[in-house]
């Protein structure tokens, strides 16, 4: 049986499915689907192969779409996707999976879970019951829960990232949550780093080493070896502390990729207009720039937090989409790059999945 690689692209004008073979040397672009709704994230549930897309329409509200035919047709449901009368849900920012359940991270920040394949949703209310919640403030992108990281073997454990609020973890299935920000700087507030309020941009887990987490933050890049209880900064060697996406290798816990941008207040594009992905093969102790095949000059592109992905093939493919609608890919773990699609809408998210034909 053959395999297909699906790149799932979320944009403000709907979702796009980019499909190629395992050689990853040719791609077909389909879309837009999800009826043109702004889609912040699309992902494949590992157990079922179903696609789930989260987003929000200015007219019809927040919802999660499901497709069982690789994006050809979609259903949607937001039953239970509500806080009650206030606050009103604006959009779904992230969809994730853990131990058979589907999770949705939303704006204003909170977490919802579906145990019936996305037909109905229930609020994981313990997170918003955290005593810090009245002090949560939105960042530039809003008060958004954008990262959902489940534990591979322990269903009671999960981590989430909330922009301008920080990382939280539960060890009791979502009933209670603790802040996990110790060692992470918050340079935009005076004084020592607070318990919460750090601006995590993307949170990922190392492969086969669930105690190790990585994050790209507004203020640097970090690694934790103790499930996020403490963090060590690994920014040294990168051209900037600022960036949005981060992905981890599917098999090597020491390999990660990020795309530094020139700075939070400097325009948020790749440094000097020269596009590059930076890779570490030693858990962040050192970084190597990879720009082969990417535009070397006059490329004032940005890459958002959900817009980078890695596939599970050997060698791993790495992909990212830009805020100006280009989708790039590497089939050699980031050694070289090529343009996959050049005229998409602004890319909000990219996910990669390898599915049987």
């Amino acid at each position: 049986m053959g395999e297909s690689v699906l790149l799932l692209v979320g944009t403000p004008k709907g979702s796009f499915i980019v499909e190629g073979g395992p050689e990853r040397d040719g791609w077909d672009v389909r879309g837009p689907s999800c009826e043109g709704w702004p889609i912040h994230d699309i992902a494949v549930q590992p157990e079922t192969g179903a696609l789930f897309a989260g987003g929000g329409s200015p007219w019809y509200g927040a919802t999660v779409f499901r497709s069982d035919d690789r994006g050809k047709t979609w259903n949607q449901s937001s039953e239970g996707l509500t806080y009650g009368e206030e606050p009103k849900l604006k959009t779904v920012w992230n969809v994730g999976f853990a131990h058979g359940s589907i999770y949705a991270g939303v704006e204003p920040a909170g977490l919802f879970r579906s145990d019936d394949g996305g037909s109905t949703w229930s609020h994981v209310s313990g997170l918003r019951d955290h005593p810090s919640r009245p002090e949560w403030q939105p960042g530039n992108g809003g008060l958004i829960l954008h990262s959902i990281v489940g534990h591979p073997t322990d269903p009671a454990k999960m981590w989430v990232g909330i922009s301008a609020v920080g990382t939280f973890a539960t060890e009791d299935g979502g009933k209670t949550w603790d802040t996990r920000n110790k060692g992470v700087r918050a340079g935009f507030v005076p004084g020592p780093a607070p318990e919460f309020g750090q601006c995590v941009h993307k949170l990922v887990m190392a492969s086969d080493r669930p105690e190790r987490l990585y994050q790209q933050n507004h203020c640097g890049v970090y690694r934790s070896e103790d499930e996020g209880r403490t963090w060590q900064e690994i920014t040294a060697g990168l051209p900037s502390e600022f960036g949005f996406p981060m992905v981890a290798h599917p098999r090597d816990p020491d390999t990660i990729w990020t795309i530094p941008l020139n700075g939070a207040e400097q325009g948020r594009y790749v440094p000097d207009g020269s596009a590059a992905v930076w890779r570490s093969k030693d858990a962040g102790s050192s970084w190597v720039r990879s720009g082969g095949g990417l535009p070397d000059e006059n490329a004032y592109i940005g890459v958002l937090r959900e817009a980078m992905a890695v596939d599970s093939l050997r060698p791993a493919g790495v992909y990212f989409g830009t805020s100006t609608g280009q989708l790039y890919g590497s089939r050699d773990e980031g050694d070289s790059w090529s343009l996959i699609a050049g005229n998409l809408p602004p890319v909000w998210s990219v996910e990669a999945a390898v599915l049987p034909d």
């Binding site: 009826e35 009650g84 009368e85 301008a164």
Partner: protein, 105 residues
């Protein structure tokens, strides 16, 4: 019985639904509840929790602006219309401003 006219963009989400639907109901809200019984989930697209009409959905009963509580008469025609909006980056409608953490993203 009254007739409710649904926007094309909503029908894309509910392919089995009809553009013009005639059904019983004393208010606009009851008509929308009737639609939801036929096509589950449709009310959630028009109404937020409350139920409250979503901010950028407009209702007209026999040509007059209306809300969910508006009465409908025998033979009334109710139009559901997405409001005109656009021009802003990202979402097409202006967001209510909230205090924002300085310098964060």
């Amino acid at each position: 019985m009254a007739t409710i006219v649904l926007p094309r963009s909503l029908l894309q989400l509910f392919p089995a639904a009809e553009h013009r639907v005639t059904l019983p109901g004393a208010t606009v809200g009851e008509l929308i509840q009737g639609l939801d019984q036929r096509w589950p989930g449709l009310q959630d697209r028009l109404c937020d929790t409350g139920p409250l009409l979503r901010e950028h959905i407009k209702l007209f009963v026999d040509g007059e602006p209306a809300n969910l509580d508006a009465p409908v008469a025998e033979g009334s025609v109710v139009h559901v219309i997405p409001a005109i909006s656009g021009g802003a980056a990202g979402h097409a409608v202006a967001r209510r401003q909230r205090p924002q953490r300085a310098g964060s993203s």
